[in-house]
């Protein structure tokens, strides 16, 4: 029989391929370690620094000193605890509101055929990507007019600008993944659109709502521009602004220890959520982009 082309390719001894495979594997694991250090070290370092007092902070020992004085100071600091509460209040309210508004819109955009559907989707998408600074003056006026200036509620209202289009978009892609026949069956069974949403889709959408809610929460928790602009006094600030505005008396007394302690504190809940709901978050992020 004639040699097939595939058989004619030159072949080296088996040991060569074994070695090559091991080298590649070794390089991959090395690269993975680098990635882990790159992504995790800054946070680790923030933690290490936040537990060192005085001069120890300036000696770069790699292990934490586990002195929690700064954390105790934070807990005793009513302004910081207040801003933590503000952040929680704003982020939770924003998330709930955006989910409710988003699911309702997503049902219409994902399921009901109406002529302006595509246009509405494009509008929603465009609003989620345009720069917030563009609406700053208009929002400023609106918030003053509503009497919300320097109130955390102002932030809830303005955060809807980014979270509502975003939740709408993601929930629309999630809703589209449900088989259409499920709703057709419900229509035949006599359900109104509202009943379909409440009794058929919502009970099935727990995971999707969780993904979307977590993303909206993170967005709201981390927001800076509006929080900086629409709150004025310390007791109404959210945590990112509070941290951003911590300053020392001079450049050399910059309170890095305290800042790191505060940073670790506000980030801890996020990191816990992220690690626990890793899969759901990735599902939400990619639902919006790849399938969109």
């Amino acid at each position: 029989m004639q040699n097939a082309i595939a058989q004619r390719a030159p072949r080296k001894p088996a040991s060569f391929y074994r070695l090559k495979r091991r080298v590649v594997r070794g390089l991959q694991i090395f690269a993975l370690l680098l990635v882990l250090i790159y992504t995790l070290f800054p946070y680790y370092w923030a933690f290490v620094s936040s537990t060192k007092q005085g001069a120890a902070l300036y000696r770069s020992a790699l292990l934490p000193a586990l002195d929690f004085t700064y954390y105790r100071q934070l807990i005793d600091n009513p302004i910081f605890m207040g801003s933590l509460l503000n952040s929680a209040y704003v982020a939770v309210s924003t998330t709930l509101l955006s989910l409710i508004i988003g699911i309702s819109a997503a049902y219409a955009l994902g399921r009901i055929d109406f002529p302006q559907r595509r246009a509405m989707l494009m509008i929603v998408l465009m609003i989620s990507i345009f720069p917030q600074v563009v609406v700053l003056s208009g929002l400023f006026e609106l918030i003053n007019w509503l009497g919300l200036f320097n109130r955390p509620s102002a932030l809830i209202l303005t955060y809807l600008l980014s979270t509502v289009p975003f939740t709408t978009w993601i929930l629309t892609t999630f809703i589209r993944e449900f088989p259409r026949e499920l709703e057709e069956a419900a229509i035949i069974d006599g359900c109104s659109h509202f009943r379909i949403l409440m009794k058929i889709l919502l009970p099935l959408m727990g995971p999707s709502l969780a993904s979307t809610g977590i993303l909206a929460f993170i967005l709201a928790w981390n927001e800076f521009l509006f929080a900086l602009t629409f709150t004025l006094t310390d007791e109404n600030r959210t945590v990112p602004v509070a941290i951003g505005l911590i300053a020392g008396t001079s450049r050399y007394e910059y309170p890095f220890g305290q800042i790191m302690a505060a940073s670790v504190t506000v980030t801890l809940p996020l990191i816990a959520v992220v690690l626990v709901f890793q899969r759901r978050i990735v599902a939400g992020l990619t639902a919006g982009a790849v399938k969109g």
Binding site: A6, A9, Q28, L32, V35, L36, Y38, T39, P42, W45, A46, S60, I101, S104, Y107, A108, I112, F114, L121, I123, V124, I129, F130, P131, Q132, V133, V134, L136, S137, G138, F140, E141, L142, N144, L160, L161, V164, P165, L197, N222, F224, L225, L228, T229, P240, V241, I243, F256, I259, M260, S263, T267, I271, V274, Q278, V282, L285, T286, A289, G292
Partner: protein, 296 residues
């Protein structure tokens, strides 16, 4: 005739959309319209109701301001370089995490950490690590004998843009990695197996199979990231307040508006930002043909 059945559906659709439309009108369309309106006035923030119309004066004033052009240049440089680095790095990490190696599950979770951390916190963390005297990075560098005294990363006007880009890359590469990973997972493994059996070398497999098939995923990710980078505010603001070397157009507009209380001029600046971003978005969508790739 039976359009009536369809009409009932349409009416329901609008009912479901009512809340979202109300929100969009209230916090997007109306403020946007007011911003456009104010940009033609000489109003000040402390007394917005007192103004007169000044035509295009504000727009011209912005264009004649050297700081504005510096901000535009900074923003474009920042967006171009950071997104370019993120894309390449994100692609590399995604390819790494897509191969079957021990610990990749851990890495996939770890990669989310920089993404979830608030920008302010990330900035403070890196500011501390890059501190000229006590920062761990300078300690490591001098420990390795690479520098003899600490580099003033954040204080030096020539390095600060580099620092901003570096921190941004750290925070947003995870987003790229996740989107590209999702794109990779849409590619059937059989395609790679076929290439393997056919003896296609790894680099060729990357150029002729992986990259073309990832194009839509990368395109969407790049679009999102570029638009996000163009509106960057918090990172540069926290790191350097209004330092001209990293002032972005968002910082510029907010400064005019809030710090200088110039409602009219600030709104005009915001409008220019809007036009700039819209212009770049249209170019990117055109170049990547995303309208076709992401047909909704």
């Amino acid at each position: 005739m039976s359009a009536r059945l369809a009409r009932r559906d349409h009416r329901d659709a609008w009912l479901f959309l009512l809340p979202v439309i109300a929100v969009i009108l209230l916090v997007a369309v109306w403020p946007l319209a007011r911003t456009f309106f104010f940009s033609f006035t000489d109003a000040y923030l402390d007394e917005p109701s007192v103004y007169s119309m000044v035509g295009f004066d504000n727009f011209i004033e912005i264009l004649q301001d050297r700081s504005w052009w510096i901000a535009v240049k900074n923003t474009l440089i920042f967006a171009a370089i950071s997104v370019a680095i993120e894309t390449v790095l994100g692609l590399a990490i995604a390819l790494l995490l897509n191969s079957a190696i021990p610990g990749r599950g851990l890495a996939r979770a770890a990669i989310l950490v920089p993404w979830a951390i608030p920008v302010v916190v990330a900035t403070k963390m890196w500011e501390w690590m890059l501190n000229d005297q006590f920062g761990v990075i300078n300690k490591v560098l001098s420990g390795l004998g690479l520098v003899d005294h600490g580099i003033a990363w954040t204080a030096s006007s020539s390095l600060i843009m580099g620092v901003v880009i570096f921190v941004d890359v750290w925070m947003t590469t995870p987003f790229m990695v996740l989107l590209i990973l999702a794109g990779l997972q849409l590619i059937s493994p059989e395609i790679f197996e076929a290439a393997d059996v056919d003896g296609i070398p790894a680099w060729k497999r990357f150029w002729s199979i992986t990259l073309p098939m990832l194009r839509p995923a990368i395109g969407v990710a790049v679009l999102f990231r570029v638009l996000d980078a163009l509106r960057m505010f918090d990172l540069a603001y926290v790191l350097a307040a209004s330092n001209e070397n990293v002032m972005t157009v968002s910082i510029y507009a907010r400064d005019r508006l809030i710090s200088f209380q110039e409602l009219g001029v600030g709104s005009a600046a915001s409008t220019w930002v809007f036009l700039l971003v819209a212009f770049v978005a249209i170019i990117i969508i055109g170049v990547l043909r995303l309208d076709k790739a992401a047909g909704t």
